[in-house]
Amino acid sequence: MAAAARPALKRALPSLRSSTFLPRQQQPQCHHHVPTSRRSLSTTPSHRNDTQPTTPSDEETHFGFSTVTTSQKRALVASVFTSVADSYDKMNDLMSFGWHRIWKDHFVSTLNPGFSPLSSTSPTSPQHILDIAGGTGDIAFRLLHHAHTVNSNPNVKVTISDINRAMLSVGKSRSAALPASQQAALSFVEANAEDLRKTRPLTPILSQTEQTFFDPATATSGLEDDSVDLYTVAFGIRNFSDIPAALAEAYRVLKPGGVFACLEFSKADKHPLFNSVYKEWSFRAIPLIGQLVAGDRDSYQYLVESIERFPRQEEFRDLIKGAGFRVSGDGGWEDLTGGVAAIHRGMKPRE
């Protein structure tokens, strides 16, 4: 079983070493730097020899030779990223004991997007949700379902944003399975969470050698101040190199009364026994599993270490407050599964 799984995952999870000397923009951007550590990977069909490094250059962002049609290419690209997305899921499963889907459901249902009091006389204004580091759409699709179906409120639109077009492309192709009304309420935007003034709509990847990371120089628009009701970020913020900058941008784009909500791996050290078991699991077992199953210890090591480096609940809450958000006196966060993950929420006040 391990042998069979190895080649696919090996492609999906290139060694961390290969990314060490890349510029920041090319550095791992998720808890496992999957499609980012090697630019070529993200556009490489599975049959291609992916050990051959390609140097990023401007020409390569142009559409190169194309012997297949655009839609064929897109499908090909999407299939590669789907396996990448699957490996994301596997890693999340390992780190969360399979609970990350439950956490995501809880995250979305407690935010209750699209809720509107029935008895209300004043009309509901449309709700704009921004899902940052939205990747393959896990959170955005849930938000949309909750608003449109659970709360029967079609007046809610969701923008999925990510720095990585490859991830967004997977999200886009997955969204084809959604009801048409929900698809119409979705938009895909390339942006770095640290500077939301520079964005562009998702541009299809047509070439194997294209840069998949958003280059701010190619921006065609930006997110306006006070334009968002709900800002969500799930398992993304840990990978940002400048978290305060991202929080400041969240504050800027939110309307007064708008809510910031973050789901992220956290510290489970309130329960010493559980914590020691969890630490043992994550620091010893997970890299070992990564080595056995994927033949790639480093990627899994990166995942574990990025979680370890992320600030503890109180510190992160204080960063959120420092950005100007108001939090609950109930701590300002909610531990999930003993603190293996946590949800932080804050509101932008009306001054």
Partner: protein, 302 residues
Amino acid sequence: MASPAAVNCSGAARRILLLPTTTTQPATRSFPGRLSAVTSRPITTLPSTPRTKSKSTPKTQPPTTPPPQPLQTRRTYHSTTHPPPPSPFTQAETTLLTSALTSHIPTHGFTLPSLTLAARDLSLLDISPSFLGPSPVARLIHFHLYTTRTTLPSLASQHSDLLSGLSVSGKIELLTWLRLKQNEPIIQHWQQALAVMAQPSQVPVAVRELAMLADEIYYLAGDKSVDPSWYTKRAALSGIYAAAELFMTTDKSEGFQETRRFLRRRLQEAEELGGAVRSVGEWVGFTASAGVNVLRSKGVRI
């Protein structure tokens, strides 16, 4: 997190013991909080005169927040030496929750629409209440429990004429009744609220509030006894209050006189059956008296 077993009365009493202590005596520092919490009361706290401070409470409140406004109220654990514990609600929460409580709960009850409408009143958004945490409605109910408890002292001083003529048990009965009457404006919604607070995730908050309420009532009644019955009396009052509160939600009598009769009966029974009640909490009492003896041996005057 929540253990259903914690709902019972001794659970309530135990929770008090875990609360911050008011002790200033070094001798008590080395003891577990549960012991110092007991013994600290007579050392530092019991007023020899009726408290006169409660009336001044509103003056210390920020001018921007509307009444009835319990933020920044005084101590909870009856310390005259320590500052009052900070409110468990931030300013932003207090503003939103107060608006919901005063303008929308009488119509919409303890529900999300109440909170959403309050947010709109404040020019916030429909999504805003979600910053309150995983259960904004439970937070709203907790806020009602907190405000009613922390406004009890000023309510008591409004009735100081009545209270001063009463025995300790008479005072306890009247104070409990005053607290019950605070539920009057929201009584048709209270059963639903109690159901929310009975959910496992909310039980710790509910039990803690109940325990602090019983403690408050005993404090305001001027009960000075520091013996093993300290716990059982509070546990018993917690149980009686909870029962009377539930009774009141179905009471259709004029001025809730049936509830008041119910309350009197239960308090009287508890007094008559004091011995039996005590035996329920015997282990607590035993532990406590052991602690008191240890402290005495250390020179603490109890």
